[in-house]
Symmetry: C2
Subunit: 306 residues, 2 copies
Amino acid sequence: MIDRLIENIERLGAPVVVGLDPTLEIVPEKMLADSAKSFDETTEAAAFALLKFNREIIDAVADIVPAVKPNIAFYERYGLDGIRAYIMTVEYAMGRGLMVIGDIKRGDIGSTAAAYAGHVAPSPLFGRKFEIWNEDAVTLNPYLGADSITPFLDAIKGRDKGVFILVKTSNPGGADLQDLPIMPEGAPLYERVAALVGEWGAGEGLMGGHGYSRVGAVVGATHPKASARLRELMPHTFFLVPGYGAQGASASDIKQFFDTHGRGAIVSSSRGIIGAWKAEGKGAGHVGKSARAAALKMRDEIGAVL
Amino acid sequence: MIDRLIENIERLGAPVVVGLDPTLEIVPEKMLADSAKSFDETTEAAAFALLKFNREIIDAVADIVPAVKPNIAFYERYGLDGIRAYIMTVEYAMGRGLMVIGDIKRGDIGSTAAAYAGHVAPSPLFGRKFEIWNEDAVTLNPYLGADSITPFLDAIKGRDKGVFILVKTSNPGGADLQDLPIMPEGAPLYERVAALVGEWGAGEGLMGGHGYSRVGAVVGATHPKASARLRELMPHTFFLVPGYGAQGASASDIKQFFDTHGRGAIVSSSRGIIGAWKAEGKGAGHVGKSARAAALKMRDEIGAVL
């Protein structure tokens, strides 16, 4: 999975992943109203509007970016109908040749983590194996430690799948725990997590052919000062870098997340791309066009600093 | 929600919550086979078997325990069909008068956390409010800090809902991050998290009438040595205590999680109760009976030490 991601990034010259985090503030009103004509004023209508919106975005960016990253929270909020839209979004994106990073941030104790690992591994059932979620990679929360991660490592071994583990998140509150100084030397907690992620990713059967592990790290674009140190601590860890654009980070902030060959990271933007039509004051007909223009702009901004 | 939980615990004399974490190793083979007759060999059949199993457990314990705690991972593993079984389990348990703690361990940055808060708050849609998930309380992961928690606090304010935030988890790997010594004094990370949870729970509109906040903490039963200190650090925080039974903790281990009045905590057991029929080598007809006996035994064991 990580080799495929790296190759697609290089083929397109775009270390860019589009966050598919649609809210009804970003989805055009007409799209929701049309959906309500078919499904009445229900969660099914809301979910179908999200799916329709995502398809427009996916169609508009499928040939210029390697991957999309739907955050399941934006679908889970509408219950079963929403989760159906998430699953259909994953399928649609894959059908258009995009890789899919499921932003699920799951984390639980060993036996439970094995259940969550169904996102990236087939579930045995009736003597067969069911591929149920089928994202290319998912994000994980490390607060429960090694035994919450191991079932995922076992699941992705020998398969074309990956994980990205939260190290330093892009939000202000991330500092509350992640920046706490650990004894004896006082390095922040996230550096300890970084070291663990590096170790986990060095396990047998996890390293890809381009020098990066299928166990990646999430490091927020909003922390340029931490970037060089994290790159140094995790030389073989691929970075998923959220927080570009709407959350305030710019291209110059993210240069150090990449290695000296301009590899090793993919930068995520959600609202900056999927909400571009609205930010520009355009009509609903511009959803795809504005998203494409925003993604190209982001690609070029990042390309200019690498 | 927290007052209602405390009152139900006292009415029944049972600070016990039954973890509804069914796997196909615990569900009787016949139950799955029967389900496959109706739904073929599909995830729908697996999900229906889980639901049917849960109903037997719920029917067997509804009059002796105040609450159940389904962990969504065991349902999510079967995709959409599994999540439907989760939702139907929540509804069924509530219909039988049980409170439901949704063990979802979600955590994400502010705007995304607001979407996850749909678990405990209605989602506005088409000018109306949709109660979609409707658990009485859910568990949360604190790794992303205050802004990942605040949307939930806003969501439960003025509503009969609650949250339990992971502080010290029951699994061995929990030590990897949670036990790291924080400068300057070297107290473990989980004590810092405990202090934060205490602060968050002291916010306006969150304290219940019995001296406990609707913002609770998850503290593993497997850490008796930490229990007195955590009780001291969080005098107004109600504890959800997993790890009893199958994970190795006994009644004497959990005494200090309670306050001097024998209040302030609810102990969770999953496999020890729902898998009792199998551990005892009984047939499928004993699922409910064995679960009830195991829950009564746990109630009495805990009652004896309080």
